[in-house]
Symmetry: C2
Subunit: 238 residues, 2 copies
Amino acid sequence: MKNKYVVIFNKLVKKIQQGIFSAGETLPSEHELTAQFDTSRETIRKALNLLAQNGYIQKVRGKGSVVLERNKFKFPVSGLTSFKELADQMGQEVKTSVHELTIVTQASHIRRQLGCPEDAKLWRLIRSREIDGERIILDKDFIREDLIPDITKETAEQSLYHYIEEELGLEISFAKKEIVVEDITDEDRELLDLNGHQQVVVIRSYVYLADTTAFQFTESRHRPDKFQFVDFARRMKA
Amino acid sequence: MKNKYVVIFNKLVKKIQQGIFSAGETLPSEHELTAQFDTSRETIRKALNLLAQNGYIQKVRGKGSVVLERNKFKFPVSGLTSFKELADQMGQEVKTSVHELTIVTQASHIRRQLGCPEDAKLWRLIRSREIDGERIILDKDFIREDLIPDITKETAEQSLYHYIEEELGLEISFAKKEIVVEDITDEDRELLDLNGHQQVVVIRSYVYLADTTAFQFTESRHRPDKFQFVDFARRMKA
DNA sequence: TAGTGGTCTAGACCACCCA
DNA sequence: GGGTGGTCTAGACCACTAT
């Protein structure tokens, strides 16, 4: 909350959410905002770029920054969100069960994908997520033990990301994801309430730290009727 | 190709693709690049931000811009890509069949979502996509007729986006997407080679022009075994 | 300590939109 | 023509990483 442009971004988000700036209208011009926040125009522009990237506004040359409607979709913040954040946002009751938490020394293909030493140990973590009394999601993680040394059943049941970012002070930076649909496995049958479904939606992701090291591979298997993914894509600009 | 930072971005991409800068190494420092390209540091930073947004590099404070590996996933350019671009990238033989191309005056719920006048007409376009001899994808579009007046069977079979951007000179800006899995309909059964599948992956999207007007709603229905979505998410920064 | 990227400033000129 | 956002410059100071 220190960066000036982040502070300004947050203030503008609040005003949009409160309806002080409402959809369809334009924000005050960059020049005006520069005066209001007593800063430079480039700083204002950084704040506005953040608003645009998060789908709050769209900038139109010669016209202004138009406030967009944000309600047609509920946005679970496109991209990097932990399961817990998502569940909290949805306001649903969620129960996580840890089925396996072990150290493995095999799985060299995953070790290679993560780009870590051949002798590195990996955590193997299997969790199911129960929402409204049904086990709907199966999360299977491989996590580098040399980077994240202490994982307990308790942290795995709570938020792993919170532990990594807050307690270990590591910064999670980006993730590559793949979404496909696959036939169910015996493991799915055992650990999920499939309700007759024969396929699951599989999200595979590699998660990277701020120093470019990959530390986690996750396979998240969702029952199709309870799966939703929302995305907000825009043409890339600087 | 006029903007200085875009030109620099393209030159750096080429060098990375040629392996002149290879994965794991760092690019020359911003200071150095400023001298090399005879420009200001902020301009170099814009080019580097583009590289980062497109997954070519990751910047690490105090260290440099690290070149990332780009081959673990094939990236079909996250976000806004037309079907034709995608198919071209994959190098697959694709055949598009137009099943319906009409003007509708009902469908007021879609008209409301698009935020267009109640009396506006909408194109209704239904196409199937055949890849390797199988009809795998069913695309159902609603398009504002007041913005895109002339759609022929031929343009619908070729690239609609090419027509909109190149011929009409409209700039497509961003899209909101939702991905879910649904049971098949009679229409799916009729127009797709489902190969026994009982569900399809449905991508619903609203597509916006640069002036913030929504002009298209698309429902793209994919046979699950042929569906893949790749995403490259990063923490948002300015 | 030297070098890196991150932020911030105060100007400038341009392309575009609208009255 | 006056206002808008888009680009670009030439500095400055800071936080971080390496050695």
